[in-house]
């Protein structure tokens, strides 16, 4: 190679060696004062009670039923109602969780929890998301392992990269994974210790016009679901795919999703409770797509009844 080019490449390399520490230094300073602004989102023990859930999951097993999925899961499936029905359950849902983050969490905790049943809450929108929001939630609230590093690489998103780097450095320099005391009650939410469940009682949905939308599903989401089912099968865990109820207004904004239903039905037993359960938008929800505690009680009654029927059926 021409010596001038070699010099240029060496100079570029030297610049890189100088720019990387500058970037890291600025990132650490930024994270210290504004950890959740711009392309950094390191919110530990924050909205959704993920920190508490991921502390509780370590001591929750073994369980009969493990629930995973989006916020519809951790706000819609109440393990106390399962308990009253004679089933020990844990809820591993998280905000905007896509099948890829479900897979990551199951890789971490499935063997500890040893469930007989896995109820996967499947919301069509979760199959359209890039998974950034949910990944940031897990990144901030759980130790980082090789599976997380793989996911960060897969997503190739600056916000995820920055948060990953910040989390790694701050934990390395700060003496390990942070221990905080997360309040059980926050902004109307109440975390139920030991269950993973977040209760919202006494709030009612006031109708807001909902913009109609169309979903574009991601093949990667279906692929992640397939891997989850494969792992469950390998452990003799039975799986039920459940679409939890949302308000009629929200459900009608995207209408029936025959392609999504077909994809679900060909993989595992699937039930859409929007079609089988009649709830009132104002009385049973606190916003356009989350149940309040009254709604959860009504939904879980129907869910557990259907679950009894499903359990009686031979394994598919």
């Amino acid at each position: 190679m021409n010596p001038e080019i070699a010099r240029f490449v060496r100079r570029l390399g030297a610049f890189g060696l100088m720019a990387i520490p500058v970037y890291l230094l600025l990132l650490m300073l930024w994270g210290r004062f504004a950890p959740a602004i711009a392309n950094l989102n390191y919110r530990i023990a924050s909205y959704g009670h993920m920190y508490s859930r991921l502390r509780d999951v370590r001591t929750a097993g073994p369980v009969d039923v493990l629930i995973a999925g989006s916020s519809h899961a951790y706000r819609g499936f109440d393990p106390r109602l399962f308990e009253a029905h004679g089933l020990k359950a844990f809820n591993l849902g998280s905000s905007a969780q896509t099948p890829r983050q479900t897979e990551l969490l199951l890789d971490r905790y499935l063997d500890e929890l040893q469930p007989q049943w896995l109820i996967l809450e499947v919301y069509p929108a979760s199959y359209t998301l890039d998974g950034v929001e949910s990944t940031l939630d897990v990144l901030a609230n759980d130790p980082i392992d090789a599976g997380m590093r793989r996911l960060v690489w897969e997503l190739s998103n600056a916000k995820v990269w920055n948060t990953h780097i910040y989390a790694t450095l701050s934990r390395t320099l700060g003496g390990g994974f942070p221990k905080v005391q997360e309040p059980a009650e926050r902004d109307g939410d109440r975390y139920i210790a030991g269950t993973g469940y977040v209760e919202r009682a006494g709030y009612y949905y006031r109708f807001d016009p909902v913009v109609s939308r169309r979903w574009t599903y991601r093949d990667q989401a279906y692929a992640a679901l397939d891997r989850i089912l494969e792992k469950a099968r390998a452990r003799d865990i039975r799986v039920w795919l459940v679409e939890a109820p949302i308000t009629r207004a929200m459900y009608d904004s995207y209408g029936p999703q025959p392609e999504f239903v077909r994809q679900m039905q060909q993989r595992a037993p699937f039930t859409d409770f929007n079609g089988t359960l009649s709830l009132n938008d104002s009385l049973h929800f606190y916003d356009s797509d989350h149940l309040n505690q009254d709604g959860v009680i009504a939904f879980n009654a129907a869910l557990l009844s259907a679950f009894d029927t499903l359990r009686a059926e031979p394994m598919r």
């Binding site: 010099r7 240029f8 570029l12 720019a19 500058v22 970037y23 392309n39 998103n157 600056a158 916000k159």
Partner: protein, 483 residues
């Protein structure tokens, strides 16, 4: 392959190292390598696009040879027409077929006749408008005997598909770019370093300024009736900087990355928002397209040689055609027409070449008069950009009507106020940097190059941090790809 993607971040250094390390043995090897990597770059979107560009390349190479060998002027003209008809025919089919069909259907409906629409589901090949004009410039210049035909097919194909400028320009003239494929370039360290600086600035403009502006623009333009006049002005302002940051950012990355390989592309933007009148604006905005229309349409139509009537007619023609080039929608046609109207007073008063020098030359700040003329010119472009961005003419007129609704002008109707304020800070930063570099090729040329290495490198590192921390996450395609 998008410039603002991980793919390109891996592709460019690899190509750079192979280019200088392996393929500098001969012109043929170098051109062959550039051709292959350009096809990889372009085929990254959709390999089927390669068939079209290969066909266009073959056709124009063949036309060039025929024009060289043919002495008979009628036959030469026939070959030129073949190139024009086929290239413009392909462009017309892929870009304008559905527009014409829908316009006919609408016209018949207007007169009370319902006819079924027979639109086709056509995928518009990325960058077709750009490379079509580039190959046309070759055929026309060879026809005019201003240019010798390409020495060999590989050199010509590499010229047509040269990846830095393939999908969104600058629209290169064969007379400028093609000769650069006939000899080996010597590596110039300062040119390559300045290319990197220009790329850095281009990435900032695209990823931080344009993409943040886009977020606000999409929300405000999606429902203009919900917003106050002040918010609609803000939406138009954001769009002005979205399109500027997006397109001039692309051009900076294209020109900068090309300089890494020793190729000089033409300048495409010269700080157009510091223009004192519309004529100056059009000398500084999308220069490669404006000069293309000047050389291949305006001058053949008679240019400004005839009487006033001819000048006026030709000006309207090039602006309207330029508008139509941007997209198959009446909004673009009207945008072109409106710019022609803006241009008219200057043309009629013979004042269209008043401002050939940069503004406030030798001074730090503009005079009050200069400041007012820059502001007035910018306000006119804002109104025109509304037509460029709107979904249809009705929405554009409603939007502009809303901008002048004084009774609720200052009402706060935009929820993301903090996001908008942050974006305004980035716009102010962009304008400040470009103002102090307005006598240079790009914002990071010159001033920073003269500082100590420590200071320069610290500045570049901070600039990289700004991009890393503040760019819109997710790959956002460049607006001009659709043209």
């Amino acid at each position: 392959m998008l410039f603002n993607s991980i793919d390109f971040a891996l592709f460019l250094p690899l190509v750079f190292l192979l280019y200088w390390g392996v393929f500098q043995k001969s012109v043929k090897a170098r051109n062959g390598f550039l051709l292959v990597v350009s096809y990889v770059f372009y085929g990254w979107w959709d390999w089927r696009f390669l068939l079209l560009i290969a066909f266009s390349t073959l056709l124009d190479y063949w036309v060039g040879l025929k024009l060289r060998d043919q002495e008979d002027e009628r036959m030469r003209k026939t070959f030129l027409y073949i190139s024009l008809v086929v290239n413009l025919g392909l462009l017309g089919f892929f870009k304008y077929y559905n527009f014409f069909v829908d316009s006919f259907v609408d016209a018949f409906r207007f007169f009370g006749h319902e006819i079924p629409s027979r639109g086709l589901d056509i995928v518009l090949p990325v960058g077709i408008s750009f490379y079509t004009f580039q190959t046309l410039s070759y055929s026309i210049d060879v026809y005019r005997r201003k240019l010798s035909p390409a020495p060999d097919f590989v050199a010509f194909a590499a010229y047509v598909t040269y990846f830095p400028q393939l999908v969104a320009g600058p629209i290169e003239r064969a007379t400028n770019l093609l000769p650069q494929f006939s000899h080996l370039a010597r590596f110039d360290k300062s040119k390559a370093a300045d290319g990197l600086r220009q790329m850095l600035w281009g990435f900032f403009k695209k990823m931080v300024v344009a993409d943040h502006c886009a977020e606000h623009v999409n929300l405000i333009f999606s429902d203009p009736s919900a917003h106050s006049g002040g918010t609609l002005w803000l939406g138009a302002l954001f769009f002005a900087f979205q399109i500027y940051g997006d397109f001039s950012g692309y051009s900076d990355i294209a020109i900068g990355s090309s300089r890494l390989f020793g190729f000089d592309l033409m300048r495409n933007f010269a700080f157009p928002y510091f223009s004192r009148d519309m004529a100056e604006f059009w000398r500084r905005w999308h220069i490669s397209l404006s000069t293309w229309f000047r050389d291949y349409l305006y001058i053949p139509l008679g240019g400004s040689q005839g009487g006033l009537g001819m000048k006026v007619r030709n000006t309207f023609i090039i602006f309207v055609v330029s508008g139509f080039w941007h997209g198959a929608n009446w909004t673009f046609v009207f945008w072109g027409f409106l710019n022609a109207l803006y241009f008219m007073p200057l043309l009629l008063l013979g004042a269209n070449r008043n401002h050939l020098e940069i503004v406030a030359k030798g001074r730090w700040f503009p005079s009050l008069r200069e400041f007012l003329s820059i502001s007035a010119t910018f306000a006119l472009t804002l109104l025109a950009w509304v037509f460029f961005r709107a979904a249809d003419l009705a929405q554009a007129f409603d939007y502009i009507g809303g901008m002048f609704q004084w009774n609720r002008f200052a009402e706060l109707t935009y929820a993301n106020g903090i996001g908008a304020a942050l974006t305004l800070i980035w716009i102010a930063y962009l304008l400040t940097m470009e103002w102090f570099a307005r006598d240079r090729q790009h914002a990071l040329e010159g001033f920073w190059a003269q500082r100590s290495r420590g200071l320069r490198w610290s500045f570049y590192a901070v600039q990289i941090f700004i991009i890393g921390m503040f760019h819109q996450t997710g790959e956002t395609p460049f607006i001009y790809f659709q043209f």
